[in-house]
């Protein structure tokens, strides 16, 4: 509007017209919300992903404080409790709510099969308690204590909520410790894959051309090979004489050797897409160095995608370890992982007599499902600008 038309108008109208020229941006809270905040808002909408986050957080807490959560030493052998079934915890007695308790187990040895047969001993009422004293240990490997999350009040009687294994070891305590190994091996294997994947995928996507072609062929090749037989072959070569910690790292290495391809694909794809983005070109025209373009513009744009796809690869690693250990080619006692626990459930007869030995597999499923839902939620939230 040309000024000449407005000159004759009253002052307040002119002011109002001037105000109109100033474009107002929306005043909503999103205006100053960063990428992570937007992602969180989006992620929160996925109820399944939120629940999964809770489940995994709980399991990680259990893993960290395994000695505290487990009522017993996972290695403690109780000859009188071989294949003892889970003990039910009672909360109601004579129709009234009461402090949790359980009944003791009576066992007799069946002569012909040499198996122990358990029956409930109703005369033996065992009071349970929280924060009871048990075998001493060091919390987080430092603080000496003998406090356990739960256990029997008097400390001499035993409670095995998930039953016992063939040596009478408490399955629940063993599973708590297995959580530590299985969750950490998933993370460790993925961490290695991350390094390989980001490096190779980054090189591939950023430089393009022949290097890209070579890495692409390598990825296709690795993806085309069935992983389990190869894992089996590689782990079979781990010398039996190696100490447990070495074996742990060797298995991690084996698992991550084939697992980096997905990550590399994601990183490469993002690089290729971002290389063409106008804002990257704008940064270059502004005089930004390639270093700055990569670290200030490109990387932040796909960190969220990396996290999401990492989350989705962890369950594969956990299942891989479980399968290998189950076959006897992975981790071995005295390391306890879910796979090691499941070795006990290798044949149908054992499963038939002690079905509770399958419970580790159920927890593995829970972990895998939780990671999948979490990853799905993260992936949907990863690009809050889409």
């Amino acid at each position: 509007m040309s000024a000449s038309h407005l000159g004759t108008l009253p002052k307040h109208i002119q002011d109002e017209l001037a105000a109109l020229e100033r474009e107002e941006a929306s005043e909503r809270a999103v205006a100053t919300a960063s990428q992570w905040r937007l992602m969180w808002w989006r992620f929160r909408k996925h109820s399944l992903a939120m629940v999964s986050l809770g489940v995994l957080a709980t399991l990680f807490l259990v893993a960290i404080f395994a000695e505290f959560v487990a009522p017993y030493n996972p290695m403690a052998v109780h000859a009188t409790r071989t294949y003892a079934p889970p003990q039910v915890i009672y909360l109601i007695e004579h129709g009234r709510l009461t402090w949790p308790f359980t009944y003791g187990l009576k066992s007799t040895v069946e002569v012909e099969t040499m198996r122990r047969v358990y029956t409930l001993d109703y005369s033996q009422r065992i009071e349970l308690g929280l924060f009871v004293r048990g075998e001493p240990y060091r919390l987080l490997g430092v603080i000496p204590t003998d406090l356990r999350l739960f256990g029997t009040r008097d400390g001499t009687q035993l409670i095995s909520v998930l039953g016992s294994d063939r040596l009478g070891r408490d399955l629940f305590s063993r599973m708590v410790h297995a959580t530590r190994i299985s969750l950490s091996i998933g993370l460790a294997a993925v961490a290695l894959s991350l390094v390989l994947g980001v490096t190779l995928g980054g090189i591939s996507g950023y430089f393009g051309g022949r290097v890209d072609m070579l890495i692409q062929r390598l990825i296709e090749f690795i993806d085309a090979i069935p992983s389990l037989p190869l894992w089996m072959g590689l782990s079979a070569a781990i010398p039996l004489t190696w100490p447990p910690l070495w074996v742990y790292f060797a298995i991690t290495l084996v698992l991550s050797l084939l697992g980096w391809t997905g990550m590399a694909r994601v990183v490469r794809g993002r690089f290729l897409a971002l290389r063409e983005e106008d804002f990257v070109m704008a940064a270059r025209v502004s005089g930004s160095s390639e270093r700055r373009i990569i670290f200030r513009h490109m990387l932040p744009s796909f960190v969220s995608h990396i996290i999401a796809s990492l989350t989705l690869t962890i369950p594969g690693r956990i299942l891989g370890e479980t399968s290998l250990s189950f076959l006897g080619l992975g981790l071995k006692e005295p390391i306890i992982s879910y796979g090691v626990l499941l070795q006990d459930a290798q044949n149908v007869r054992t499963v038939a007599t002690a079905p509770w030995l399958i419970t580790p597999a159920l927890v593995v499923m829970l972990i895998v499902i939780a990671y999948n839902f979490l990853g799905d939620g993260l992936r949907d939230a990863a690009d809050p600008y889409a």
Partner: protein
């Protein structure tokens, strides 16, 4: 600004000489080069300080590639040619083959405004970071001073400085384009390449941005290289116009001359095909047959000859060079002198 100042070749801010940008076509497992797209195939022009030169043409004509190559927006340098830029000290430097480090001091003087107001702003950075980036990486300002500068730039593009902590997603298309302009102005450039800077905007917002760009040019004595396909916008903003077709400039002249009396048949066709918001002009189009050829496989001779209604045998075999047929008027047509072509006529007077 005096648009009629004498034009001494030494005074040119930018001289592009025979610029060629070829993109290889790679195929197969070994990524062998099987051909190339000659996106820009020998483009030359000069840009005078304070003027606006528009590059127009249809998709695939190489106008965007030309603009981007001039500010060296691609990672690889152009295939051939010279991009001679007169620096602040009056020294003329050929930017075409400079490495990143040598190029850096000249980046401050040449900036670019992008087409897509959504893709050209990093959604993960605040307005302060986006506009401040050129200041920061060129060591012009940092900290409090940076903020003050960004606030000043925002005011310049008529956005409230309070918005600097916001992210791009909080802004409308027009506002984003203002932010993009503020970023381009941050280092105090003398040349701004506007690559379809208003094409993605709605009509009403497009007018605001065009006005803003005009105002800024006057205030800051900017030189614009305006890349566009919309001839009405080009007419409005530019002093001179270069028409491109399949990688080459076919006509370059002052805006009023080019629009009133085009000398190249393609320019004539383009002008006649502009949809004009006036129902009285209905049916005045010369509908041009055929389509823009594939730059990977252009026709022989004059690239336009298969679609040209004045084409003769010579046009198919011999590529016409761009020649000056009158002062300031360059045409690449064998028959420029003999053809009488129709310009963009004014509509009949309203009854």
């Amino acid at each position: 600004m005096d648009r009629t100042a004498p034009r001494d070749a030494h005074a040119a801010l930018l001289e592009v000489q025979d610029l060629k940008v070829y993109f290889p076509i790679r195929r197969g497992l070994l990524q062998r080069k099987v051909g190339e797209v000659k996106a820009v195939d020998g483009v030359s022009f000069r840009l005078w300080p304070g003027e606006t030169l528009s590059l127009v043409g249809e998709s695939g004509c190489g106008k965007t590639t030309t603009g981007r190559s001039i500010v060296r927006a691609y990672k690889t340098p152009p295939t051939a040619g010279r991009i001679c830029f007169r620096g602040d000290d009056g020294q003329v430097v050929d930017l075409a083959q400079l490495g990143d480090a040598e190029l850096k001091p000249y980046r401050r003087a040449m900036q670019m405004v992008f087409q897509d107001p959504f893709a050209s702003l990093n959604p993960r950075m605040t307005v302060l970071d986006i506009i401040g980036e050129p200041l920061l990486v060129n060591g012009i300002a940092s900290g409090k001073e940076l903020e003050a500068r960004v606030a000043e730039l925002l005011r310049r593009v008529k956005l409230p400085p309070e918005y600097m902590r916001r992210y791009p997603h909080a802004f409308s298309g027009g506002q984003r384009q203002r932010i993009g302009i503020a970023r381009a102005l941050a280092t105090g450039p003398r040349l701004v390449v506007a690559d379809e800077a208003v094409s993605a905007l709605d009509v009403s917002v497009q007018a605001q941005i065009l006005n803003l760009m005009q105002d800024l040019q006057a205030e800051l004595s900017l030189t614009y290289l305006f890349v566009a396909h919309n001839l009405s916008v080009v007419r409005y903003i530019s002093d001179r116009v270069a028409v491109m077709y399949v990688g080459r400039v076919v006509e370059l002249a002052e805006t009023s001359k080019l629009f009133a009396q085009p000398r190249h048949p393609y320019t004539e066709a383009l002008l006649a095909n502009v949809p004009r918001p006036d129902p009285r002009l209905r049916g005045m189009r010369i509908v041009l047959q055929g389509e823009v050829p594939d730059p990977a496989n252009p026709p022989s001779g004059c690239h336009f000859h298969p679609r040209c209604r004045y084409a003769q045998a010579r046009c198919a075999s011999e590529a016409p060079p761009l020649r000056e047929i009158a002062p300031g008027q360059h045409v690449a047509c064998h028959f420029a002198e003999t053809l009488t072509l129709r310009g963009a006529a004014a509509p009949p007077a309203v009854a």
